[in-house]
Amino acid sequence: MSTQVFYFVATLSIIFSLMVIFAKNPIHSVLYLILTFFTFTVHYVLLNAQFLAVVNFIVYMGAIMVLFLFVLMLLNLNKETEPSKSPLIKIVGVIAGGCLVVTLIGSLKSASISSPLILKNPGLGLVENLGKELFGPFLLPFELSSLLLLAAMVGAVLLSKRDEIEA
């Protein structure tokens, strides 16, 4: 049951992420990206990582993608304003894409089907256990990453205040 659900959702993830690239309209791309993130949330639920699932839901679908959509709506992208690409860039793109395909085929040929992962502790993704892990053995990396976020926030505030300082 769970394996079938996994294959169904995984197929959806791949289809939606392909649609992100192939959609002509950037707004549609973002909407497909939102759907892709939603399928990721389902994957997390299937792995019994409920906290990660709901955080992915709130942060990626609810906040970051809203900002993406927000910016794209302000940009007013049209076919007329799109910069035309020179043939040289197109040729370079084809060569690069070809290299990527060759690499992918090579790695796929050597890949073998991995055995299903069995978690030692299936309840690891629950909020309680995750919190104990994060604030116990992994306290230092956790606090350091929060410092990184703080630095980014200070930087953003500074950038937005630059005009005032110069004036």
Binding site: F51, I58, V66, M73, L126, V127
Partner: protein, 345 residues
Amino acid sequence: MDSAFVIEKFILVAVIFGISLVIAMYSTYAERKVAAYLQDRLGPDRAGPFGILQPLADGLKMFMKEEIIPTSSNRFLFIAGPGLALLCACIGTAVIPWGSPVLIAGKTIPLQVSDINVGVLYIFGVVSLGVYGVMIGGWASNNKYSLLSAIRAASQNISYEIAMGLSIIALLLMTNTLSLKEIVDQQHGWRWNVLYQPLGFLIFMVCSFAETNRAPFDLPECETELIGGYHTEYSSMKLGFYLFAEYINMFVSSAVMAALYWGGYNYPGMDSMAVWLGPTWAPLFGTAVFFGKICAFIFFFMWVRWTIPRFRYDQLMNLGWKGLIPLAIANIIITGVVIAIIEKF
């Protein structure tokens, strides 16, 4: 998974869905009656006694109106927008505990669709998703005013989500759980969270006004600046969906406020009532109390709407970023310190 479980949940979902729709329907009526009372008018009184059939008449009118889809709009997203808005409004009810388990025909039935252990975060996720309906509809209309309104809605929701999340963190420090059911059960009798978290409740309430786009924060549909806001181009039942979603959002956020801070289905003297009424009727009475609290909050929403004028956009942003967020952080620090002191001694 046995079929009795599925049937039980299906009936529960259907009943909750029906109740939310009926309450949303009668909220439109109540809104007009409350507005009329506050402005010393009579309000709707023609359809049926005291005008109680007015929502049906309104619904019929919405269905009968001509459906207009602008030619230059994005057809699929134009239709998807209101649908998404209504869907996001409705799914929030899934984790709200409507009452303590009821004994019906020798079977104990929990009055909650799903008691997931991240219930509070789920509500939060649904709230943050709610803005997509407005954004997609506003953008797909291909109208400058609709687009401006959609952008306003997005920035307003994101800004107030931060303060809302921070105000919940202080509450979670006290409750030690993310399950809504456990949070409500901890408030047995008189121990309502609002008595311990008055500041947190105030911040949460102001934020839910902003998240539901209700006055005084209804900037996305500010008529003086934006004609009709994000639903300028909408007609017929698609417009009805947007208006309806707002009332369902109001109902759900009232329920969340009542459950998180005002004790949910708990009330003083509930233990003696449980003995007196028995295991079937006592929980149902608790549910009635819960709905009483929800209705009180819905009335409060309307009271505020017809009392306080709309904010200006910069005032809204200043209040959110410079007022509520620092207050919420101070609230977290105070709560943390107090809890640490209590645990120490």
